[in-house]
């Protein structure tokens, strides 16, 4: 099987400081990879490099494109990369405000990606938006409301609908449950798990919440000071951590 995403020797420096360095992994279709580490460990830098928002200093990010097979996204032209960003890739921001158009209705937010790839039939766009709002458990009668009238959890679910409506194959998520209270988090996690399985999505989730990765991620990568210190099966890394830092991280979880 060809990996959907193949990362080789990726590094990003901010001047003399290390953003992330020597990162490599393969992500296969349907796999969910969690990236954990404390603030400043380089996990968000890594995610942004992978998603094409930041330009890494060295390395390769090979994506298995539908038409031409594996291609280094860092060497793609910008239009091609942005096209990927609208079709096969999705990016769910921690802060829904960064990922939504707050002045546009919920339906318009979901429809934007469809229109961006050429949908020009209002009725079809609206039907798809309605369907997706239902899938993320937002009532149909809220379709014309602006996200500013939504709760934090609803905004986050709307962001997910907006991202998944074009049927992407790879989803990048930056702290998708950050800033939500626990009951809302649980609902969102359940939703994400269902969508990942039904759509056969691959996902890369950056979080500092180990409970989130235990429930969502198949594999885990632990980062510290820009380096990957440990990676493996999620439950193996959490239950039998090999690196001192991971052991510290796991033992630091507060028990309820």
């Amino acid at each position: 099987m060809t990996p959907l995403l193949s990362v080789r020797n990726l590094a990003k420096h901010y001047g003399a400081r290390i953003g992330c360095t020597d990162v490599g992994f393969d992500l296969y279709p349907g796999e969910v990879l969690g990236i954990v580490g404390e603030s400043g460990s380089g996990k968000s830098t890594l995610l942004n490099c992978l998603a094409g928002h930041l330009e890494p200093d060295t390395g390769e990010v090979l994506f298995d494109t539908r038409s031409d097979g594996p291609r280094d996204t860092l060497k793609m032209s910008e239009p091609e990369r942005r096209m990927l960003g609208r079709t096969d890739w999705a990016f769910v921001h921690q802060n829904a405000r960064d990922g939504l158009r707050m002045g546009v209705s919920a339906g318009g937010n979901v429809g934007e990606r469809l229109m961006a790839v050429g949908a020009r039939h209002y009725g079809d766009i609206r039907a798809q938006a309605t369907d997706w709002l239902g899938r993320v458990e937002i009532a149909e009668d809220r379709i014309d409301d602006r996200p500013s009238a939504f709760s934090g959890g609803m905004q986050q679910r709307l962001q997910i609908a907006r991202n998944l409506v074009t049927g992407p194959r790879l989803v990048f998520m930056d702290e998708p449950t950050g800033g939500l209270d626990v009951s809302v988090q649980a609902r969102l996690l359940d939703l994400l798990r269902g969508l990942v399985r039904e759509m056969g999505l691959s996902a890369i989730i950056v979080t500092h919440d180990l409970a989130v990765v235990r429930l969502l991620a198949d594999r885990l990568m632990v980062m510290k000071s820009g380096h990957v210190v440990e990676q493996g099966l999620t439950d193996q890394v959490l239950d039998d951590p090999q690196h001192g830092y991971t052991q510290l991280l796991v033992s630091s979880i507060l028990q309820v």
């Binding site: 942005r82 609208r86 209705s105 934007e112 229109m115």
Partner: protein
């Protein structure tokens, strides 16, 4: 002749503006940045259009200036006087007599010809601005032809009002490439954007010039199930009886009395001169 250089601007500035105009004509619909000058009138009064007109005028030209279709409003009168004083060119109120027409918010009803230039005053040249505030991003969207966002605006219209409620500054796609703001003309005028005349757009505050060369394809954006509709008030003109022109609604008293008249004053006047009559035309007095 006055002490001003011909048409107010110095020759170097006019050259710079002409270069921008030529580039705009070469790349239809593309917003060309230019070094807009301070003009002796406030922003919003047509500083962009005035600079483009100044760069186009020759001493042999005949100039017409219209504001919302009318030749006799403050804005039109003051700009016409401005060029009478600084360029000493002939002016006219008749569309067919003019070689250069500067306009705010309308396209004349009478068909334009290939020896005419129509100059638009543009307040906000960027059609994507209200949806995407970042200039860096909108430039990139134009460069990469990412225009999905423009349809989001139309989608919002339909979702909110049941139809595309954008009635003026209705976005168009020029020659299958750039999405362009046609300035705040009513959407009724959009079909007239495909014209034998040269159409130039000047935005003074925003420092942009763009153009539609003669006979360029201009398509108003729409949805398959909500096609573009260049609608207007469903009345004939109360003065000249025309049923095919864009109308202004005029309130005539405090009792709800109103009349509809052509917004293009010259067109209406010439029709009346030809003997066309409307509902409220003064009765012929017996000779």
């Amino acid at each position: 002749m006055s002490d001003y250089n011909f048409a107010y601007l110095d020759e170097q500035t006019k050259r710079m503006i002409r270069r921008a105009i030529l580039k705009g004509i070469a790349v239809p619909g593309y917003q060309v940045p230019f070094a807009s000058r301070e003009m002796p009138m406030p922003y919003g009064w047509g500083t962009g259009g005035v600079q483009v007109t100044a760069a186009c005028l020759t001493p042999e030209d005949t100039l017409k200036v219209i504001d919302q279709g009318a030749d006799d409003t403050t804005n039109a009168v003051s700009i016409r006087k401005f060029f009478e004083k600084t360029a000493d060119v002939a002016t006219t109120e008749h569309t067919d007599k003019a070689s250069v027409i500067q306009t705010r918010h309308r396209i004349p009803e009478a068909p334009l010809t290939s020896d005419q230039i129509l100059v638009y005053q543009v307040p906000i040249p960027e059609p994507l601005r209200f949806l995407e505030p970042r200039e860096t991003e909108t430039r990139k969207m134009h460069a990469l032809e990412e225009y999905g966002l423009m349809h989001v605006k139309l989608y919002e219209d339909i979702a909110r009002h049941g139809n595309i409620a954008t009635a003026y500054a209705y976005p168009v796609k020029v020659e299958g490439r750039y999405v362009m703001d046609p300035s705040p003309i009513p959407k009724f005028d959009n079909p007239k954007l495909e014209s034998p005349a040269i159409q130039l757009f000047g935005a003074g505050r925003e420092q942009r010039i763009y153009a539609i060369p003669p006979h360029t394809k201009v398509v108003s954006l729409d949805f398959e199930d909500y096609p573009f509709d260049p609608s207007k008030a469903d009345h004939p003109c109360d003065l000249c009886g025309a049923s095919h022109t864009y109308l202004d609604e005029v309130i005539t008293d405090d009792a709800g009395g109103r009349m509809f008249v052509c917004s293009d004053t010259d067109y209406c006047a010439s029709r009346q001169a030809q003997g066309h009559r409307g509902r409220l035309s003064p009765k012929e007095t017996a000779a």
